[in-house]
């Protein structure tokens, strides 16, 4: 029966946005399966109005809709209940306005992150959205998943520099919040709600950003330590100093295997400084004798690319690895990383991580030892044990793991705050719960 309904849906969607923008063929749709759940149909709307038309139809008939940008981070989330319509933002790919003099840009959601970065770089500006797979990932996807990279240390996540957003709610209402200027308190700040909402509140159609002057030159300084405690002690020293690095990363001893340019198994703190020769020599002086290596040019670029793509590299090498994002209080990072390592060992897994040492946001990998094929319970137990040991205000989100394991735990863990209020937000914007059903907290 479902296929009949979908085919009807396909015809109706084609009537709304044109048959070229709707696909119901099995083979191409298989490539867009999410955790094995194949969409019934895909639609590629070319305007906000078309997005609204699709959602109004889906809402009326209670069809589920999942949004896809570059399909680069769809491993996030629990297994979808079903996906009647995969709404792809590929055709929403225009730059709406670029105002280098004002340091702002507005782009549609389907624009590739790397392309936007390239565009602003021509005017010596920076969009600090250094996500993994930036060539493939889209602006809409980066916002919906609140993905961040090493530049989060210096610039914060997208919530700190996204100044406007347009979206369509689950019930098909066209909305926007914020605007094009860097300071604005008119109306509710719905950028904050859309960022990290995992496509469950609306379909982001465009966003405006504050841009930053690109640094004229940078250097990267490496310090290596025997233990996580020693590394974090050095982090605290850097945080107390007058230095204001762009990036401040912690690299675990086992993460070196997935990065170029490391030849031993020690914990490392990596500091990226930007500025004139005088500023950089100040970095050199303050960072002191602990610095074992200073990188510039392509070596420096390679290192940061490697850090940015850490989870991808792990996953390429070990298909059965589990990736996590850990957000913890900065003072508790050392304990949480020890707990994570312990939880991994107990389940016959290796633990490796890289991440923002200053703000204590880490990309972690749990790699099953290749003695036996891993059982799903190893993943469930490792996650459960880590969450049990972590302080209450920490978060451990599984961003990727084998599909089968997802049946045994929530990839999200406990929500950071009152879940009833979050549900109320969901009710207001997606009253029938058609968006990304099954994949989020509720």
């Amino acid at each position: 029966m479902a296929s009949t309904a979908n085919s009807l849906l396909g015809r109706d969607l084609a009537a709304l946005i044109g048959s070229d923008s709707v696909c119901e063929e099995s083979a191409p749709l298989t490539a867009f399966a999410i955790d094995g759940v194949k969409p019934g149909v895909w639609a590629t709307p070319g305007s906000v109005e078309e997005v609204a038309a699709i959602l109004q139809l889906a809402n009326e008939r209670k069809f589920t809709v999942t949004v896809a940008g570059g399909f680069s981070h769809q491993s996030m989330g629990n297994v979808p209940t079903n996906v009647d319509v995969l709404l792809r933002t590929d055709r929403l790919n225009r730059v709406l306005h670029f105002d280098p003099g004002d340091l702002t840009i507005g782009v549609e959601a389907g624009c590739k992150v790397a392309e936007v970065q390239k565009k602003v770089a021509t005017d010596s500006l920076l969009l600090p959205l250094d996500i993994s797979k930036a060539q493939q990932g889209t602006i809409g996807g980066a916002l919906a998943t609140a993905t961040a990279g090493p530049l989060k240390h210096g610039f914060g996540g997208a919530r700190e520099y996204c100044i406007g957003v347009s979206f369509v709610t689950g019930d098909g209402r066209i909305a926007k919040a914020g605007g094009r200027v860097v300071k604005n308190v008119a109306g509710y700040d719905l950028m904050k709600l859309m960022i990290g909402s995992q496509g469950t509140l609306g379909v982001i159609t465009s966003a405006n950003f504050k841009l930053f002057p690109a640094p004229k030159q940078t250097r990267t300084f490496l310090a290596e330590f025997e233990s996580v405690e020693a590394a974090l002690e050095y982090r605290d020293f850097v945080l107390r100093s007058a230095l204001n690095p762009m990036c401040l990363e912690l690299i675990s001893s086992r993460a070196h295997a997935y990065l170029d340019g490391f030849d031993n198994e020690r914990w490392a703190i990596v500091v990226k400084g930007a500025g004139s020769d005088a500023v950089l020599s100040r970095f050199r002086r303050e960072l002191g004798a602990e610095i074992s290596k200073e990188l510039a040019g392509s070596d420096e670029e390679q290192l940061w690319l490697g850090i940015q793509e850490f989870s991808e590299t792990v996953q390429k090498r070990h298909q059965n690895a589990m990736s996590m994002t850990l957000h913890v209080a900065s003072s508790g990072l050392s304990n949480v990383l020890c707990d994570a390592e312990q939880s991994a060992i107990e389940q016959n897994m290796l633990f490796a991580c890289v991440g923002r040492a200053g703000v204590a946001s880490m990309a972690a990998a749990f790699v099953p030892l290749s003695v036996d094929p891993p059982s799903v319970m190893q993943y469930a137990n490792a996650v459960g044990e880590l969450r049990r040991r972590m302080p209450r205000d920490s978060t451990a989100i599984v961003t990727r793991c084998p599909r089968e394991a997802k049946a045994y735990f929530s990839v999200w863990g406990g929500p950071s705050g009152d879940v009833e209020a979050m549900r109320a937000v969901k009710r207001a914007l997606d009253p029938k719960g058609i968006l990304n059903r099954g994949r989020f907290l509720f």
């Binding site: 003099g101 004002d102 340091l103 702002t104 609140a146 914060g156 996540g157 919530r159 700190e160 209402r173 066209i174 926007k176 919040a177 605007g179 094009r180 200027v181 860097v182 300071k183 604005n184 308190v185 008119a186 109306g187 509710y188 700040d189 719905l190 950028m191 904050k192 709600l193 960022i195 990290g196 909402s197 002057p213 945080l239 107390r240 007058a242 230095l243 204001n244 500025g275 004139s276 500023v279 100040r282 957000h327 209080a329 900065s330 204590a360 946001s361 209450r392 205000d393 920490s394 978060t395 999200w412 950071s416 705050g417 009152d418 009833e420 209020a421 109320a424 937000v425 207001a428 907290l441």
Partner: protein, 477 residues
Amino acid sequence: MGLTEATARLRNLLGAENVLSRSEDVMLYEYDAGVDKGTPGAVVFPAATQDVSGIVKIAISEGVPIVPRGAGTGLSGGAIAREGGIVIVFTRMNKILEIDLANRRATVQPGVVNLDLTSAVEKEGLHFAPDPSSQKASTIGGNVAENSGGPHTLAHGVTVNHVTGLEVVLGDGRIAEFGGRVVDGCGYDMCGFFTGTEGTVGIITKIIVKLMRRAESIATLLAIYDSIEDGANSVVDITREGITPTALEMFDGLTLRTVEEATHAGYPMDAGAVLLIELEGLHEAVEEQAEAIARVCKANRAREVRRAKDEAERVLLWKGRKNAFAAIGRITPAYYTQDGVVPRTKIPETLKVIAKVSEKYGLRIANIFHAGDGNMHPAIMFDLRDPAQLEKTIAAGADILAYCVSVGGTITGEHGVGMEKDKLMSLLFTESDMDVMRSLREVFNKNSILNPQKLFPTTRSCRETGAAAIPPLMRKV
């Protein structure tokens, strides 16, 4: 059911000494720093979150509106009881609950005064970055509700960039917590959403904020111009050069002279405009940027670029800025100030438009504003006793804001919408945009008691009540 019953029940809940209802007592809470007015039916002083929850429950069952209020320094009428009802004042909830130096966080009650938090952590080399001009009086609860800014938000961000955790009482009296010490978490960013909702979706009862380290080096520059246009062009070029000062403030000639007469901060009396520029950071970077800025300003025909030689001189220059509006109050019986924002490249043109508006209506307008982020603060001077001037003032203000929006800007950068600009929301937002925002308000405020008639345009005439008959003005007191 109603206010009388509610007041009696509030006395039971909080003690008679914590509930005011005599007209001479509640009159003190009619105003904020504008002079929109609205007389509360009762004013209450809770001591704890549970009290606030109890107040909300009483308000629901008695059908009486609630307006949360910090220090009453707001400029858009956010804390005014537009429909009467209960005003909740947080002076008893004014404790710093925890300072967590390791994580650079502070947990505070909403009634803590902005500057008091900085004073408490200064010896550790830390500060709370949002610095509205009202920071000596305004409360952090109010700052969060209004998402307040200030001169130094250019580099440090506004209040929302500094809030990581909130406890709120929702419209049904339920207490909810969001976030904590950690910026990111799992689920929706409710802290980010609640900040700046102007008391319309919940009442903030506890706040966790970031504390920032003080920079090792600060340079404060004063660039002096014969023409305001040259000053405005300097702002455009500084932004273009890729220099981000922590503050970049502009005064026009009229403001300068007024401020100088009042504060003797050392501003030149004969200039067309000045820029007050502050740089923070590593000593080396600050020195380089100070040089670059002096170069840009000179290239734009700055007559002189001075640098504060010590902390005393720096403080004096800032005193002039922070007391500017009080100084303007010395030369006019009343003024009406706005905070529209324009893209920074549009500042020179916007100043010309403001001059034209001034001419068109025959009203003097002083400009002192956060130039670095395009946040204009035209102060339109008028005589409150002349109804014709009042009309003209409102029209002049609306003209300026309409221009700001027409060049891609907004109607408020830091003061909030409140009851002052609710009608102007439709310049920026479509009915559909506002419908979505309202639907969020409704799920948290089913009983429609939280700060009614604020932020969104109402179908009723917004100025129909006698109490709200005049627009937000600063009156000489």
